[in-house]
Amino acid sequence: MLEASLTPAGIIGELNKNNITHVVWLPDSETNFLFEGMMADDSLELVPVCREGESMAVAAGIWVGGKRPVVLIQNTGMFESGDSIRGLGLDIDFPMVMMVGYRGWTRHGHTPDSAGRFTEKILDAWNIDYFLVETDSDVSRISDAFALAEKTQKPVACLMGAEYV
């Protein structure tokens, strides 16, 4: 098992740098290490949802209302959220950044978990650009994702591949 070195401070720093106000999320095992750090950050309001498909809709409402949300879910939840991403992301030109826990990502080619195998293929099918974030040296890609979302006025994903197997 490779050692991942993706720490909450780096990620939350990127959210602060991009003036994020709300994190709409459902916990997953790849990004659960962020919870305490987000809770401790007064500039971030957490909006927990029951199912990932809600997250894009809630985030769209927050965006319409003038605040700056980010979505934080797992790739399995992204699969479940297909119609929300279509109708409440792509169709409405919502520059939404989705931080997606990359379950199944092994970085050495052999990917027995189908959640890992299908993730990039599905993003490609939706024509959604994505950035891989594995270590603290990658976190500036989160700002790249926000910049690309603003430029294209379309959803962009950050695949959080910090848990190697």
Binding site: H22, V24, E45, V47, P48, V49, C50, R51, G53, E54, M56, A57, V58, A59, A60, G61, I62, W63, V64, G65, G66, K67, P69, D83, S84, G87, L88, D91, I92, D93, F94
Partner: protein, 189 residues
Amino acid sequence: MMNQKDALTLIEKIRGDAIVVPTMTGRTTWTEISTDDSVEIPLRGAMGKAASVALGVAIAQPNRKVIIIDGDGSLLMNLGTTVTIGGKKPANLYHFVIDNGVYGVTGGQPIPNANGFSFKGIAESSGYTAGFEFNDLEDFATSLDQVMSTQGPVLISLKVVTELDDSAMTLGTGKSVGQSFQDAKKNLE
């Protein structure tokens, strides 16, 4: 039982500057009677996400009331959102449900367990501040001020006669959903 248009007309009269998120058959009726679409977000076929969108708006705009005109079949597709709303407790959220027991946009097929459960009860047990149920127009008319002065989140089940509406899912009528989002965003700045 009430007529849907009569019930929604009462809501339109007292909406003030509330932001409105209507969906499914309620969207069609609301679009007909609304006198101000500048901060409205009508959703077509959003798989039950109207309440989730409205929750987001309510969180971002805590000083304005947000009204959802939901469908019963629509809300059932995303029923967990009642618990999400109950957890966040937005004081400015008013969740009306067109409760006629059928899928009005697909031909009138019954929703699962039609008349076997209560949206009012679901709301109350999910953490809403209050739940109401009305099946008489006069009763609804005399209670509406009290409903809207109750701190949210509040769910109001409107027992209405079945009206089928196969236009609710069609594209090309009125503003696109995307344009409605963009207009509402601009007008809320």
